[in-house]
């Protein structure tokens, strides 16, 4: 107890008893104590003058916080669909055999803990795991063996990384085995640019003219929703508040996306300059980069980039050489929650709370971070804005389709020979994309990740753009050897796990549709079940509060539409109803207690 009191006291003091830093406080405390017990929660609550239930609410909300010990070494192995496709099952088994405990548990000596985790943004190099914030990619049974041996020997985790990735992954402050896998560079994000030049140009303009320029470029949000960036900046600028904020959403959690990881690694200067441009446009002096916990390995490096940009005069006082324009950026860490990719949930999380989406209105541009006008934009959006400002709206709008201008980064993974990052001009067809990435015998493409659209060959002629197949960039290729419904089921498990739990249809409805899907997959489905499944999906989508529940049944609903025969092949024909009740399984427990074998007769 004495130890807990001291650790909490130290951490709370480090963050000036500021409850908005609760996530940082919990992270520090857990790093020292190995978990956050009820006693620890009570101490934190007391120190911050919060109720224990508020602190417990936060601890229990985030995947990387734990009330139970997670081990001196905590292994978080990705269990996303592509990880499974790339052999995650065997890797998990190897970990369990070598470590001597099963997933979800910690060894009895408290040394190693094994845990599942949702997509960690490494789909192009799966199977992958995070161990004490260090990323391990392309795992094999052999590498698992040596990692576990190292853990048993007490080796420092960072020292277990031998082969470093490419580019800035090798830089002193990163030193990770993660690879960029940049397969195709395009005209916008990977074009040459001189650091600071775009902000200088932006700051020579009037803020309204700057916003007009961005509006003219038709740049739309790159996180997936596609809201016009210039319009968002305009709303934020015009909203009244004591302060304005610029927030960058670096919480890419959609399974299959990893493009922002590569931007953060290779183009952070362009990103931070874009945020400064946004700051100048909306009248903000403070920028926040909300970084997903999975990318903690980039934090120190990114902070150094921010410092360097201050030295260069791009950030800090008189940023971009503009007298009177001060702009600083700080990094706020997430703690493992997909829903925080939703902008208002992200703001809640940045304020140290549970990452629950807010009811809207008011919108973040009116009342966002600390209830002040806030523009939240995606990593790729800020980078694109930098280039728009530098090279002009008409240059940018000259690329792409009618509604979708410029380029888009795709994160391609799954069954193809060249997974990785592709900067494409909007308007490419899925067929062209499949040729580009070396995909063969493709059965399905998951466009925009699980919350998007799973399409079949009949639709491979469709185009990647907002007016046809919109995407935040996640593209998962599935070939004909795969069991499609297992993948769909994996996606549904993800949504059940990642729902914030606030609204009924998303919290409970996703469970019901997933169970119904299982019923069909187990061969206990009839035509009625399939039709009900489709209807129930519509109920969840039609009544959920935020984008998560409004899209979570998409994996089921789009496959019922595009792959109906896959479902129909599993249905029992000519019957209205099939019971999923399993008498033998149901009496197993009681039979075991009384020591007899089930005698079910001819039921």
């Amino acid at each position: 107890m004495g130890n807990i009191v001291d650790v909490v006291k130290k951490s709370v003091a480090k963050y000036n008893s500021d409850a908005t830093q609760l996530l940082d406080i919990i992270r520090d405390v857990q790093a020292e104590l190995g978990c956050v017990t009820d006693d620890t929660i009570a101490q934190i609550a007391n120190a911050l003058n919060l109720s224990t239930v508020e602190v417990e609410g936060v601890v229990s909300f985030y995947h990387f916080f734990s009330k139970k010990p997670v081990g001196k070494y905590s292994v978080y192995l990705n269990n996303s669909a592509v990880a499974v496709m790339m052999g995650r099952g065997a890797i998990a088994k190897a970990f369990e055999t070598e470590v001597g405990c099963s997933f979800g548990n910690t060894t009895s000596d408290g040394n190693i803990g094994l845990f599942d985790t949702s997509c960690i943004g490494m789909n192009d190099q799966e199977p992958a795991a995070i161990i004490n914030d260090v990323v391990f990619t392309n795992l094999t049974a052999d590498t698992v063996k040596s990692i576990v041996a190292d853990m048993k020997a007490g080796k420092e985790v960072k020292a277990m990384v031998s082969d470093l990735g490419d580019g800035k992954n090798q830089s002193e402050l990163v030193k990770t085995m993660v690879k960029n896998n940049i397969q195709q560079k395009g005209e916008v994000l990977f074009a040459d640019y001189e650091i600071g030049s775009a902000l200088k140009k932006a700051a020579s303009m009037d803020a309204s003219a700057l916003i007009s320029e961005v509006k003219e470029s038709n740049l739309r949000g790159r996180g997936g929703a596609g809201f016009p960036t210039g319009m968002k900046w305009g709303f934020c600028k015009d909203a009244e508040g004591e302060k304005h904020y610029v927030v960058c959403n670096a919480d890419e959690g959609e399974p299959g996306t990893f493009k922002d990881r590569v931007i953060l690694t290779e183009l952070p200067e362009m990103l931070f300059e874009g945020m400064a441009i946004g700051g100048y446009a909306v009248g903000a002096e403070e920028g926040i980069l909300y970084l997903r916990a999975e990318y903690l390995y980039l934090k120190e490096y990114l902070e150094k980039v921010i410092e360097d940009l201050k030295t260069k005069g791009v950030l800090g006082a008189n940023a971009g050489g503009k007298s009177g324009f001060n702009f600083d950026i700080k990094i706020k860490m997430g703690a493992g929650a997909y829903v925080c990719g939703e902008e208002s949930a992200l703001i809640e999380s940045a304020e140290g709370k549970r990452g629950e989406p807010r009811n809207r209105p008011p919108f973040p541009v009116q009342k966002g971070y600390m209830n002040q006008p806030t523009t939240v934009n995606n990593v790729e959006t800020y980078c694109s804005a930098t280039q728009v400002v530098l090279k002009g709206a008409s240059w940018y709008a000259g690329m792409g389709t009618d509604q979708s201008k410029g380029t888009k980064l795709l994160s391609v993974s799954g069954d193809c020979t060249k997974p990785g990052i592709y900067e494409i001009v909007w308007g490419m067809s899925i067929k062209e994309m499949l040729d580009m990435v070396g995909a063969k015998d493709t059965m399905a493409v998951v466009v925009g990740g699980p919350s998007g659209n799973i399409i079949s060959e009949a639709e491979f002629g469709r185009k990647i753009c907002f007016s046809d197949l919109a995407t935040g960039g996640s593209m998962i290729v599935i070939d004909k050897s795969r069991d499609l419904l297992k993948i769909v089921h994996n996606f549904m498990d993800f949504f059940v796990e990642e729902s914030c739990g606030w609204c009924v249809p998303c919290r409970a409805g996703n469970v019901l549709v997933t169970n119904k899907l299982e019923k069909i997959m187990n061969g206990n489905g009839s035509e009625t079940d399939l039709n009900e499944l489709d209807e129930w999906c519509s109920i969840v989508k039609g009544s959920s509060r935020c984008g998560l529940g409004q899209t979570s049944p998409n994996p089921i609903q789009t496959t019922i539409k595009n792959f109906r025969p896959v479902y129909e092949a599993l249905l029992q024909k000519g019957v209205d109803f099939v019971s999923e009740f399993d008498m033998e399984a149901s009496v197993q427990e009681s039979c075991k207690v009384v020591g007899r074998t089930p005698n079910l007769g001819d039921h």
């Binding site: 609410g57 549970r354 009811n359 990642e498 914030c500 609204c503 919290r507 039609g542």
Partner: protein, 230 residues
């Protein structure tokens, strides 16, 4: 200040600026069903029963401010069907045994079940294992019946305005957590208030029960919503 004009199911309505759709509807004699909403508490939008279609988009009436010219659809087969489904989802998500519940007849979930003529939920029961928290002297919480509307989270606070109830965990494991030390300070009067705030029988005042017999309670006499519809 001039009134806002809008319509619900083609009926011309007026509202004051700042009103939510459910409040404005009520003032116009139109019932938009609610469950998590409670007068005087900040709307939460947890239950989604009040989902209406505004200019073709589904929105929760309790969190949507009314605006000039809104065309609201409220009582349509699709929306009423969705509401019925939500009631059914709540019935299978928890353990709701109406005949033995102190709140039977005063329970808003039960009343909505009758209003939407739920015979049996279309969804399989999940029969979850839930806790009963009875350590506090004046109040007990039976989470079997909890629908996580967050009324108690919003409306029941300690004398120094700290939370007693709060949402913990997430997804399908999300549940109402209790600051047990704070709950122990709840007085008998506060317990009664908390019980009245709870739309179901999850929060109960200890040592009293069934003072008004079942059959003579609020919704035993008139269906929910009839007080608005007249």
């Amino acid at each position: 200040m001039s009134d806002i004009k809008f319509s619900i199911d083609n009926k011309e309505c007026t509202a004051k600026k700042g009103q939510t759709l459910t409040q404005a509807a009520k003032d116009n004699g139109v019932y938009i069903p609610t469950l998590c909403d409670f007068e005087g508490l900040k709307p939460a939008g947890t239950c989604r029963i009040c989902t209406v279609s505004v200019n073709g988009r589904n929105m929760a009436g309790c969190t949507t401010p009314v605006e000039e010219g809104m065309k609201v659809e409220n009582s349509t087969p699709v929306l009423d069907g969705m509401r019925k489904a939500i009631v059914e989802i709540l019935f299978v998500e928890g353990n709701h045994f109406c005949p033995s519940c102190e709140k039977s007849g005063n329970c808003e979930l039960q009343a909505l079940g009758y209003r939407y003529q739920m015979m049996v939920p279309r969804f399989p029961f999940s029969f979850p294992i839930r806790n009963i928290e009875a350590a506090a002297p004046n109040v007990m919480i039976d989470t079997n019946r909890c629908i996580q509307c967050l009324r108690c989270v919003r409306g029941v606070k300690t004398s120094d305005d700290k939370a007693i109830f709060g949402l913990v965990d997430r997804g399908d494991k999300a549940n109402i957590g209790i600051d047990t030390a704070a709950a122990a300070t709840i007085t008998g009067d506060q317990a009664q208030k908390a019980m009245d705030l709870c739309p179901v029988g999850a929060i109960l005042k200890k040592e009293v029960g069934f003072i008004v017999p079942i059959g003579e309670r609020k919704y035993d006499k008139k269906p929910i919503g009839s007080e608005i519809e007249g």
